[in-house]
Subunit: 316 residues, 6 copies
């Protein structure tokens, strides 16, 4: 299979790709054609079907894996694939993991590392809560395949696991540097802080906001999920639950970022700082990776998240 | 019983009042004394016990109903009660309802009016939810005795019921004026929008924020409570629940007012507008009532909630 | 006459429409053509004159009613009318009311309903002011044909009347629910709160900001107009006028929305709340109406006014 | 007469001062006394009447000129005048100008200078407007005795004239430096920009916000006054009036400072810049003057208007 | 040489222009072509090279002066130059000053006027600092050829000199109007306030942000430069240097405009006011100049800097 | 020596303390007395000298170490020391380190740990810069005795060293977790990020803002200091210096916190995140330490820095 990021003008293509979008269009001269977007793990490419009614063009739709035959051209400095023939692929013709953006780290390894850190939690109630989820293979399966975002940082398969691991490790560091923090509360809150994203974002290949995601948000859904889970653990202290839910509710740190409460506990503050630091440093990593072909002294333009022009650091 | 708002300099007092606070103090000359605040339904008065170790001063604490003997003086233009004797009152000596700020409307009548409007909800699931709560005498008892705030508007016994009724009636008006609104969803959301205040504020006489109130807030607790309740109603449509929870989560309208979501549904918008309008018009009512002795042309000073100097409207 | 919203690809057109805009253009191949926008009460359509110098193309300009002959095609998923022949229509060939967006309610009926409510104002001075305007047929004519906005809510013929009626009715509701409000002042202020829009927006078909509208704004012009009118009513109490003007000046509620004063009187606050509620609920109504062909579970995208993604409420 | 700023501990006082406030009070020991504030052109002093019922204490009230006998003491590092005897002064016993804060410049001279600059306005309509006001002795009298503020910059007799002159002179400078500005419009707008303060602030000695000042504000009142005046000048061009009113309405530059419109014309922008510059540089002048006894290297504390700690400039 | 602003459709061009940008492109039909922008002192024009591989098209790049042969057409209402032949021009074929935007005033005259004002500074240390820079021909050369901005006000050759002169003159006016200001400190600070722009912006023809400009900014670089210079003047008082640097650091007035300190000295405040006034009044001048062909009653659209719709002032 | 935090009502005191402030006052009865504040490393106490003219009261001033004799009383629930005799102490009577707030960690050990980490910097230029400072005993002495703030976090002797070490260690953690960060640049920037505080705050015991601190601030002074130092290292790459200065300038992250630039480099972002995290987690630590006597379920009130009510975490 030829990866999309390796395609060049003039290439002949005859391979399976994931169809992300499909739309009808009409040219200025009144001719009907179609706009299609194809995706694999390395990126996306815009395509045209100039003869949608020709015999080679069979029926297909978004999120179908399709076998396409065509040629690569350039239009306004972008590559474009002109599709001559297309049909839905048979399941034995492709492996879905080749068509989705994935973490550059092995998700299984990351999950194991996360699991090991969580074993350091000694409080019996928090331990019970952690085991109920992280020992459940169905949870592991879902947790490892999910992203942590639709578009920005960690928007790939395994993203939720990778981001959670990073935040948990930073919280571990905080516990060493600031021993007054309650280790068990902080590590547990970090492990579950984005668990609501399992409901906020739909599974790949769509990876888009769900209805509940837009109406309720992952912060409230995560807090409610933990509330239900803890109330099913007999004897779970009410106050401990409230503090755990508070950490989840406050982890965005500011009202305008969707947290209904600002951090009132030291652990809630620490979780907010760790989540924010990982989000920003991972975003910066992805921005710099995307600009890996630019010169060491090139500015990368204004970034809305960072509210700043960004630049690669030099080599002196 | 002599109401606090009727006390005047020189009055002799021998009656039962509710003790709100009690603190020890030392005068500049090194003498120990005590600061006490007493409350009844008409207001509060600052008191001093100048001889805390004299025989007439028996043991008591905050939220005790106490029988006090003393005299009213003035200090820096405020009335002050010098307590000579004090003891905890026996339960037959007072009726607790005389000592708390109460709605000027009959709570039973308001609850009945609210109940009648809620009967217009025809959707079977919403009706089931309403009946489960509003037909429960324990819920009625709690709902009717609760306030809707610690200090500002509706901070009295019955305040939660009165505010909820006002908001429900305004939503009824909206349904008539804007028929595109979904009546059943809007009325149900209005009925439950502040139900989390039952947990956010402790019961009278304390009427103060609870631990959960500060950590989680009434918006999230109300949404979670409705979530639990609906999931216990077999067949309750998931999407209807999400929309109902969204209305509760979004009813403050803005992130900075503690809503983790902004209104995305017309009914969520309408509920937000009704809640805001009643809060502001009731606050204005209480401000003007407190200034009832001021002249028609007096300004009432800057009000932080309204961010404006306020004034009585003239009589021309 | 064929309504624009009913046109379909391939239709032949030979009818009168209102010309909204006309601009010359040059194709990439250097050929001159013209862009024209036509409007009727059901919507607008983009048009091309590919042969502007052909004999069938007579002289015309913006806001002319023109008789056009042409054919409907599609271009980039939008309909487009290719005009073959065009001439200015004779006045007997069209009725101008067919070409403007209009309220779905009968303006005469709305005006009568408004007039009836205003008769409940008993204060002699306010009554005199109301009668001077609302009994004047020229005022009625202007008031009923005007919009309340250029683009957003109530931007149609009759919009000013419809919005004013809605606000007046909500203020009536407030007077019942909060009896401490001064009925006569509030209803009068509501009746006149947007009267400055008669000067801020030009008449249809332009319905655009006037010079004075941009330099002074409807809030200040409305206040000044009421000031002049009241000073011509002998004996009108100065303080009543100040309060009435204050209500008009403060009705946007916030400095950043163009109000030079924040509400200081209960009636000014109530008017602000009613104006805001009608503006938002009417905007929501128009958004949902425009999306009437979308599925019940479709999101409608981010709305700048509401600062939120919006969605239709479900049917369960 | 002994100026208040020259009083020292132990001084005996027997002179006429202006009474600014008078309030009853009760000491901790239950004794009644009175708090009084006296003012002259050099400052204010707090006073006590420890024996309000003694025979030497006659009737008087705020804004009376009173003859007092008493002694100066210190209390908590502030001077305090203990009043032994007091009576209302006879009009021949004092000159009111000795009791009010006044401009350090001669108001007549400033008015003349302003009048001379205004003669450079050649446009016949603007000239007519200026003459109608500035040639009117009653206007001159009012304009010269008024302040430009209640507390901050230019809050003294003559302050309105002094501030207007400063702004007009800065606008003259702008016309030289930026010749594209329309001289006649800018100078006229500058002359009248704060004319609404004649109605917003009451006359001295009160110099406090009027009812209309709080309800309508000097910006809107000034614009309305100019509107009325110009409409009484036959033939005054409508557009010129709109532009003049726009300059007045926009002279605070930002919505949050009470301007209902932001500057749209170059002259409105220039007026806003000149008004802002004079307000800030005069405020700084008054702050530094008040700190004239402080050392050259002392910081003057945080100033809310400037949102900064302030300091005297050094002498090197 | 034919100025770009005088070119009209159909013109034949055979002249030298400055190449600002050059980019390859591909048409929809797959044909390669090139986009080029040419500039002279009167403006810019978009160009196309439809046959980039033809023999007449020689090698060239951005900031080359090139001799082009071609024809002017229109495309979508804009002029466009179709280049047939192009080659790099020889240095004797053009004068670079004809190709850059220049001040409409003579830079030499402005520099002399600035120099004369600076001679009024009498403080020995400030005088030494001024002389060290303004008597240095290399500094004069750089200072006179630099702009004061990349795109907005004063973005032309001589812009830095013109802006500095304007600010210095306004500060002189302030010293007269507010004699408490320290003349020498204010005039010196004004002279150097934007000196950091020599490093923030690269020389013409690029006139773009430098690396240091983006990383450090002209405010900090200007302050550091003055710090180094003064420390090389033996005996320069430390405090005077701190105050001078403070004026430079605070001259944008607000944190969000890049000043790390808010004005704490009267002279820092005055400099901030003068800089702001010149920036805004010059921007307005350039906006009006660009709209010189518009009618006297046309609105100029929303301007982001002024946050307002702008309009020409009328002629009455 | 008796530590101030151990004093109790009735204690007799005869010891040396540091005088922080001294002020004259007059009682209501006209009697002169003095307010004095004494400090040692454990806290502060308010004192009174009721007989300032008695023979035992010798001359002394702020920041003198004084030997006092007196008795501890309580006034309004606070302890107060009534001073009977006082004289300036001889240098052999006290050790100044007993009178200042100090880090709970050994500064020498922290400095050594910091020094060891800095040895991991391998870039020759950055290494040269570090050695020039951190190998200089005078720098070590100053760096170890300084605080990092006047009042909030790290406002004690050794605070600058402790805060710098924390930030450096967090940056080390970041370099491990996000290997794309440039280790040498980030660690060096962290080591010097607050070096300007040596000039912003005066030495203990005053520990107050200096003149330069208020006029220029530690951010700009730190950047300028590094600029001067690097320019004295022959061959130091210009671009490396710019990036290092950028990290220092941007380390507050937002304009409104005094940074003239927002982070544009990954290392500047990381430094900002580490500085912010340590500041907040240390502040929280100090708040909780100050509340160590409060019950586990007590709320600690609203904290302005955190913009939230704060609470201890429970023990379950």
């Amino acid at each position: 299979m030829k990866l999309i990021e390796t395609l060049r003008e003039g290439d002949h293509v005859a391979d399976v790709y994931l169809c992300k979008t499909r739309q009808q269009a009409t040219s200025k001269t009144g001719k009907e054609y179609e706009n299609v977007t194809l995706q694999d793990c390395s990126g996306m490419i815009d395509c045209k079907i100039w003869e949608p009614n020709s015999t080679g063009i069979e029926e297909f739709g978004p999120f179908d894996y399709i076998y396409v035959v065509g040629e690569v051209t350039t239009f306004q400095n972008n590559l474009q694939l002109n599709i001559k023939r297309v049909r839905v692929a048979r399941s034995e013709e492709y492996r879905s993991e080749d068509y989705l953006p994935v973490s550059e780290n092995d998700t299984k390894v990351m999950y194991q590392e996360l699991r090991n850190i969580l074993r350091t939690v000694k409080n019996q109630w928090l331990k019970a809560l952690i085991d109920r989820y992280f020992d459940d293979p169905a949870f592991e399966e879902a947790f490892c395949r999910h992203s942590a975002a639709k578009t920005i940082h960690h928007s790939f398969v395994g993203g939720l696991c990778e981001h959670t691991l990073s935040v948990v490790k930073m919280c571990e560091f905080y516990c060493t540097a600031y021993p007054y923090l309650n280790h068990d509360l902080l590590i547990t809150a970090a492990a579950f802080h984005d668990v609501g994203k399992l409901k906020e974002l739909s599974n790949f290949p769509a990876n888009d906001y769900t209805d509940d995601g837009q109406l309720l948000g992952h912060i409230v859904m995560g807090s409610e999920l933990i509330g239900s889970a803890c109330r099913r653990i007999p004897g779970f202290p009410h106050r401990l639950l409230s503090e755990l839910q508070h950490c989840i509710l406050a982890h965005h740190g500011e009202y305008e970022y969707g947290s209904p409460k600002k951090p009132a506990l030291a652990e809630a503050l620490a979780l907010n700082l760790a989540d924010n630091a990982d989000a920003k440093l991972e975003t910066m990593k992805e921005i710099l990776a995307a600009a890996r072909n630019k010169g060491a002294d090139e500015w990368l333009g204004f970034n809305r998240l960072m509210e700043s022009n960004l630049r690669k650091t030099g080599e002196w």
